[in-house]
């Protein structure tokens, strides 16, 4: 538990992706089975339990600690679990042993601190000690997890006290985090799998291919990655197949494109998903291979077929003509990142899948077939099976390139991001192969805005003001023009430009609040964004989708920047 707790602790303070990967890979390399497999389970949010602990913790601390001291500590730290982890004491002070229930742990004052000290050598293995197997006196992660999976709720309290007694402060913090569900240390399931893959020189997609055929503690996975066993067999499991991705269409691509070789479809503004169904089982995967089935019982209910399909998860608008009946992305957002979904959400934001490709149909792997042939199979199959809450993404008919370009430029319907171009003869190739599929996003909206606040970045950017809040003009109460913040962006500029903006911010600061500086209205950014929607959460009443710095308009006077009304006029539907 100690090495894993140390890992969680460091991850929680580490902002950079690469540094997180390094920390995790080091851990997975050094830690023994089955501890590391359970660690992987925790980091991929796969623990089979979560305990509501509030009551248990309150009761426990009421017996163990003076209430006034606990209150003062809790007020200072701001978090109950962390307060307990830090203030935990196994014995006499401040309560006498007699008040400690069954007298468990008597005479063990500061056990864990003694166990971890003294620390005689500077060798790093001392800290990552789980790798060598024995952690004297400290419970193992695998033991704790296996016991928790079966524990009777009434027995949880006393066992928890035993473990807290045996762990140090970092271990106690990690254990309490683990008990309450997700660790929330800024690591996605995808990133954890990437670390495991890269530790052994594999790619994350190699891990994804077998992932859903495996269960914690993943010993066959580690054995395979480390060359000690064959690749796990995935034939019978509803496993994720790595997706085929597209390249953005550049001007040169368009000029060189032989129109006759390509088929066009709308690019839908939803979430790319893969449906894997067969033998009575089904899963819905996001584009990164995370299972999202739990959040979409409405679409899952219709997956009694046998196929692996590629499509777009959408929320539909009532009473509009398909296929232009897609609700704003904001509506879909209400359904995302949830473990459970309410009846009301199911009613208000009904999910739907618009299919555009088939990888496997009734056991036959179609991936080597040309796109148009897969498409034909998909149409036939869909016509026969008619799964509820699905339809097909229609192909766009256009006489020639000019006609298609006109369609592309003219279409501003909600739910359409642009056009997809797929080579008619393209096989389904995992990854991002060159020249087969293109995404041709419609031109972004742009607006000239004024920099209002700049905030320090994190990690590598912590000495730079790199996060920018910008505003547009409107008439203030007294009639004078005032700036109102409309969005925030932190990318879209080069390192050199960042240095220049940073210098400008420092030289034009009017006020500082912690990491934030307010600046004079003097620097204009041309921001690009995909859409703008009404929002009650913003003072301006609008929220931009995916804003980024498009150009820095050093040349443009701030009072010539755009007005709020211009932005409001861009709101769709």
């Amino acid at each position: 538990m100690k090495a894993f707790a140390e890992l969680l602790d460091r991850l929680s303070y580490t902002p950079a992706r690469n540094a997180k990967l390094r920390l995790m890979a080091d851990y997975f390399r050094a830690a023994p089975d089955p501890d590391r497999g359970w660690a992987l389970c925790v980091l991929t949010d796969g623990l089979p339990f979560s305990f509501p602990l509030r009551r248990t913790l309150t009761d426990m601390m009421a017996r163990r600690m003076d209430p006034e001291l606990f209150r003062l500590s809790r007020d200072y730290v701001g978090d109950t679990a962390e307060t307990i982890a830090l203030a935990w004491e196994s014995t006499t002070f401040p309560l006498s042993p007699s008040s400690r229930g069954e007298g468990r742990g008597e005479g063990q004052q500061r056990t864990s601190e003694q166990a971890s000290a003294p620390h005689p050598s500077p060798l790093p293995t001392e800290v990552w000690g789980e790798g060598t197997g024995a952690e004297s006196g400290s419970p193992r992660l695998s033991d704790i997890v296996s016991e928790l999976a079966l524990i009777d709720r009434n027995a949880l309290g006393p066992r928890l006290e035993d473990w807290l007694d045996a762990l140090d402060a970092t271990g106690r913090w990690a254990l309490l985090k683990l008990l309450t569900g997700a660790p929330r240390v800024g690591v996605s399931a995808r990133l954890a799998k990437t670390a495991v893959a890269e530790m052994a020189g594999f790619k994350v997609d190699d891990v994804e291919q077998v992932w859903h055929a495996l269960a914690p503690p993943y010993e066959p996975l580690f054995a395979w990655l480390e060359g000690r066993a064959a690749k796990p067999d995935v034939t019978d499991a509803p496993v994720f197949r790595p997706l085929m991705l597209s390249h953005p269409l550049e001007e040169g691509d368009w000029a060189a494109l032989d129109f006759a070789e390509f088929s066009a479809e709308w690019k839908w503004d939803g979430i790319r998903v893969q449906i894997v169904a067969g033998r009575g089982e089904a899963q819905l995967y996001s584009r990164t291979g995370d299972a999202v089935s739990q959040a979409f019982p409405d679409v899952m209910a219709g997956f009694g077929f046998d196929a692996v399909l590629d499509g777009e998860l959408l929320v539909l608008k009532e009473g509009e003509r398909p296929p232009f009946n897609v609700a704003p992305f904001n509506d879909l957002q209400q359904r995302l990142n949830r473990k459970a979904v309410s009846k009301k959400q199911l009613e208000h934001f009904p999910a739907h899948i618009r299919l555009y490709d088939a990888l496997v149909i009734e056991g036959e792997d179609l991936r080597q077939l040309p796109f148009m042939e897969r498409r034909a199979r998909l149409e036939t199959w869909h016509g026969k099976v008619r799964p509820p809450r699905t339809d097909l993404s229609p192909l766009i008919e256009a006489a020639d390139k000019d006609a298609l370009q006109k369609l592309w430029a003219a279409t501003r319907d909600t739910g359409i991001e642009g056009i997809m171009l797929k080579r008619r003869d393209s096989p389904y190739v995992a990854g991002r192969p060159k020249g087969l599929w293109f995404k041709w996003k419609r031109a972004p909206l742009t607006l000239d805005v004024v920099l209002m606040y700049a905030q320090r970045g994190s990690g590598k950017r912590s000495s730079y003001y790199s996060d920018y809040t910008f505003g547009t003009w409107r008439d203030g109460e007294n009639g004078a023009a005032e700036l109102v913040p409309v969005g925030k962006a932190y990318f879209g500029f080069t390192d050199e430009e960042l240095l220049e903006i940073d210098r400008w911010v420092r030289n034009h600061t009017t006020e500082s609040f912690g990491p934030v500086r307010a600046v004079e209205p003097g620097l204009v950014f041309e921001v690009a964004f995909d859409a703008v929607q009404r929002s009650t959460r913003h003072k301006s009443g609008v929220a931009m989708r995916f804003p980024r710095i498009h150009r820095i308009r050093w040349d443009k006077p701030a009072d010539e920047a755009d007005r709020l009304e211009t932005l409001v006029a861009m709101i769709e539907g």
Partner: protein
């Protein structure tokens, strides 16, 4: 809890400048200029300029002169640990406080009673200063910087081990440690040396004068160099800087620095986050909660005054221990670790 009726008040009490001993005619660590001041240690909130006469250890006097100038007081008198001096109707001696080089507790005897004013102190071993001496007394005046049960400093060796492990895992990144310039910096260097770290340790320019002073007072810090003289961007090296420089533009001369901070406050996640720290190191020059309680018990004092810090919890705890506790609420004695 007691109020002004305390039996010690006839000769030792708080006033607007801090603690004053009328019977001996001196203040202790006064906040404003006074005629005669006993200074417990050289941190700027305790050692202020402008007093008529200063009594302190030779090391504290050296620190004051180096930081505040040779003429920062009208006169200086050095008093060694254990030497006794008659002042008015009191006798005074200094006992090691274990906080930083030269730090002292002030032991005052008067009317057959003994009071000990701790200044800032700690109980753990520190290779840069004399170990805390426990002095039994009737009145113990203690600090409470870390006076909450959540503060339990990890063993120094564990924290140094975490630093070295990070250096091993991120051998291509500079490890930049924020540390207070007087005491913490030198202790950190000595802890690293004690753990077998022999490479050069690189310093921000603002830390040089105090390190030089420590060396001149006999603390061998090994190979320490200035970042300004570095041949490259110091990948895989340890750099120490004042905490205020952690997020400064100055850090751009380093290689993708891992920002660390050595302080007792790093025990609390919110405090570490606030500072944008990637590697918090719980290394403190103050007592943690168990050590405060232990010391209060061991002095045998019947009455405890708490000068500065989180006094609510400590005074409450003193009550639970069956002793009389009193929060002096002295303003102006801050905590250098929060710097």
């Amino acid at each position: 809890m007691v109020s002004a009726s305390s039996k010690f008040e006839s000769w030792l009490k708080p006033d607007a400048s801090g603690l004053v001993c009328d019977a001996g005619g001196f203040h202790i660590d006064p906040l404003r200029a006074v005629d005669r001041a006993i200074i417990t240690h050289g941190h700027s909130d305790h050692a202020r300029p402008g007093h008529g006469a200063v009594l302190a250890t030779a090391e504290t006097i050296a620190v004051m002169k180096a930081r505040l100038g040779e003429t920062c007081a009208g006169s200086f008198q050095a008093l060694g640990y254990g030497e006794t001096l008659k002042l008015g109707s009191t006798s005074v001696r200094l006992a090691p406080a274990g906080h930083i080089l030269g730090s002292a507790q002030v032991v005052i005897e008067c009317q057959g009673r003994r009071a000990v004013v701790s200044g800032d102190y700690k109980r753990r071993a520190d290779p840069t200063c004399a170990a805390f001496e426990l002095v039994r007394c009737d009145l113990f005046v203690t600090e409470a910087t870390f006076g909450l049960p959540v503060f339990r400093h990890e063993p120094d060796a564990r924290e140094i081990g975490r630093l070295l492990a990070s250096l091993h895992a991120f051998a291509d990144r500079t490890h930049l440690i924020g540390a207070y310039g007087l005491g913490k910096t030198q202790r950190l260097i000595m802890l690293l040396r004690g753990a077998g770290y022999e490479k050069p340790i690189w310093l921000h320019g603002a830390l040089k004068s105090m390190c030089d002073l420590y060396v001149s007072l006999g603390i061998d810090l090994g190979d320490v160099r200035l970042v300004a003289d570095a041949p490259d961007k110091l990948p895989g090296e340890i750099v120490i800087a004042p905490p205020s420089a952690l997020q400064d533009r100055w850090t751009r001369r380093l290689t993708d620095p891992v920002a660390a901070f050595a302080s007792g406050w790093m025990r609390v996640r919110g405090r570490a986050r606030q500072r944008g720290v990637e590697l918090p190191l719980v290394i403190s020059d103050h007592c943690d909660w168990p050590e405060l309680i232990q010391t209060i018990g061991e002095t045998g004092a019947e009455e405890i005054w708490v000068t500065h810090g989180r006094e609510d919890a400590l005074v409450h705890q003193i009550g639970l221990m069956g002793k009389r506790g009193r929060a002096l609420a002295l303003v102006g004695w801050e905590d250098e670790e929060a710097e």
